[in-house]
């Protein structure tokens, strides 16, 4: 097990190294001169050149990358061109909000998906099964940005039940209830596709488990169906579903860009989007690096957890 963990961690470090190269190079190609932007439109050519030298932009690209990487490992991701504040502090201040949104979306997706999938499996080939699967397929085919707008139209503009933007009300008390009300629509928007995936996975996995010999033996011995499902079948069926849930958590972090833009949720996704619009390269680099690193870390944790739960994996 230790050897497996070490191998996976080393592989993740190699991948992170590649990620940093991709982030650096991709944003290096953004048109425009960062030195010119920082020096200001009234700067002379000499002043712009001085700024370029101070930023190390006159160095060859590999040297720039190594300098940037060294600073990044020490926690220095530069300063935002637009906001003039340290990028890491800006990104981390928003990261918590994105984690809250992603975790909430995951909770919604997991509970809804597992319940729906289990219901469909236990009512196989009935109307309930077909309706659940059709809803799951429709949710999987629905663009999240359209779903978000539809939810705003119905629940905010139509029924006036839930707010449509922000994390807390401008005139509210900013308390727990107010916060939770703001969390509902973004969480459902972000988690809907994952819920559909989890529902289908749960149904498929539970159906496979229910045909296993130990389940047939338990039935033959007279064990009640409800007890059989809850105590034996569901636990084993959820193993592959847990992997999907874990991987979906990473996707939720990346997919939060659109949801945060729609609901003006003050997370890292919205910050990334605004940074791109304003050509704030250090901010975009920092945000992209933090999100990608989180994605790799989550996948690593999921892999290790799955290998702990299923010993066959670590030997493959």
């Amino acid at each position: 097990m230790t050897a497996f963990i070490v191998r996976r961690i080393l592989a993740s470090v190699v991948v992170l190294f590649g990620v940093s190269i991709v982030v650096f190079l991709t944003l290096k190609f953004i048109p425009g001169d960062a030195a010119y932007v920082l020096a200001g439109p009234n700067a002379t050519a000499q002043e712009i050149e001085l700024v370029r030298q101070s930023l190390g932009l006159d160095q060859p690209v590999p040297v720039q990358y190594i300098t940037w990487l060294g600073r990044a490992l020490r926690g220095d991701l530069g300063r935002s061109i637009e906001l003039h504040e340290p990028v890491l502090a800006l990104v981390l201040s928003r990261y918590g909000n994105t984690l809250i949104l992603a975790a909430s979306a995951m909770a919604f997706a997991s509970i809804t998906g597992v319940l729906a999938g289990a219901l469909a499996a236990l009512r196989l080939h009935t109307v309930v099964d077909r309706v659940v699967m059709l809803v799951a397929l429709t949710a999987n085919s629905t663009p999240s940005f359209w779903l978000g707008l539809a939810l705003i139209l119905v629940f905010s503009l139509g029924l006036h039940l839930l707010p449509s933007s922000g994390m807390v009300s401008a005139r509210g008390d900013g308390g727990g209830v107010d916060f939770l009300q703001h969390l509902v629509l973004p969480s459902v928007t972000l988690g809907a596709i994952s819920a559909a995936l989890i529902a289908r996975m749960t149904r498929s996995s539970l159906l496979e488990v229910l045909t296993q010999e130990y389940v047939l033996v338990a039935r033959a011995k007279g064990l009640r169906e409800r007890l059989l499902v809850r105590r034996h079948a569901l636990k084993n069926a959820l193993l592959p579903v847990l992997t999907v849930m874990g991987l979906q958590m990473g996707s939720l972090l990346g997919g939060a860009v659109i949801t945060e833009t729609i609901f003006t949720w003050p997370g890292i996704g919205l910050q990334l989007y605004r940074g791109i619009a304003l050509r704030d390269v250090p901010l975009v680099q920092g945000a992209a690096l933090v999100v990608a690193t989180s994605f790799v870390a989550i996948n690593l944790v999921v892999d290790l957890l799955y290998s702990y739960l299923d010993p066959r994996i670590r030997y493959s």
Partner: protein, 274 residues
């Protein structure tokens, strides 16, 4: 497999929906009642069922039905072209990687690991930001994201097929590696690839519309479903149809592709639970 597909209502329904939408989009020059870019401030935000505008108009007075028809051409191309590119490049990379093994396989796999280490939207946004917003760059970005998934899938299948007896026999008979891959290995991995391509098409249609929604794909005044949705966002309380209708179009195409893809997967998988 063909008989199972023909008996599957979902498959037939999916093909019909996608077929109809593709057909009306292709025939947009004939079917469209107006120029999709024709602006008329006098008829801004006309409701659905208006006398001269069946699906209403947007905030610039442009006919929504016309923009949906013309937008379908753009949305379908931007959604499906990346799949075609990713299929070609991904299958090639995956076949080379899975068949040759060794150092080549290692290098390709590590590069794919890096691409797959990014959430899809993040990578596409970063690429489009670097290259500039626009349809061709959006196609390139989505194709890159999809290629990694195709390559991974094909590599896994090729690793299994290359050890089969008929491949060993071809090697012993002196066939070149390129011929073995082309004539023997690839035909036996195409089934899961075609299923994946169909399901991936449903995803990339949404993905492409999402990039346009963020302003990184189609640029004004180009009619494209994602861009139309974004333009309608600020009009939800006064003219919800402006944003709703393009969303319905995206949903229908994606649903149709997913229905067909699911049916295809069930038809090719002997262990599929029905």
């Amino acid at each position: 497999m063909r008989d199972r597909l023909l008996r599957d209502g979902g498959a037939i329904g999916g093909v019909c929906v996608v077929g109809v939408i593709a057909a009306v989009s292709i025939l947009a020059p004939v079917l469209s009642p107006y120029d999709p870019d024709a602006v008329d401030a006098a008829i801004r935000l006309a409701a659905i069922g208006s006398p001269a505008h069946l699906l209403g108009t947007d905030d610039l007075g442009r006919d929504i039905l016309s923009r949906l028809l013309w937008g379908g051409r753009v949305s379908l191309v931007v959604g499906l072209a990346p799949v075609a590119i990713a299929l070609l490049v991904g299958v090639s990379l995956g076949a080379i990687s899975g068949y040759t093994r060794g150092v080549v396989d290692g290098i390709i796999m590590r590069c794919l690991d890096v691409l797959l280490a990014f959430p899809a939207y993040l990578l596409a946004i970063a690429i489009v930001s670097a290259l500039g917003a626009g349809l061709s760059n959006a196609i390139l970005a989505i194709a890159l994201v999809s290629t990694a998934s195709f390559a991974r899938l094909v590599r896994g299948s090729v690793l299994s097929v290359r050890e089969r007896d008929f491949v060993q026999a071809a090697r012993l008979l002196g066939a070149r590696d390129s011929r073995i891959v082309w004539a023997h290995v690839l035909p036996n991995v195409l089934s899961p690839v075609i299923v994946f391509a169909t399901l991936e098409a449903g995803r990339t249609i949404i993905f492409a519309a999402g990039l346009s929604f963020l302003g990184l794909g189609a640029q004004p005044p180009t009619a494209e479903w994602g861009a139309m949705l974004s333009q309608g966002r600020g009009l939800l309380n006064i003219a919800p149809h402006v944003a709703s209708l393009p969303g319905v179009a995206i949903l229908l195409v994606s649903l149709g592709l997913n229905l067909f893809g699911d049916a295809l997967r069930d038809a090719t998988d002997p262990r599929a639970n029905r």
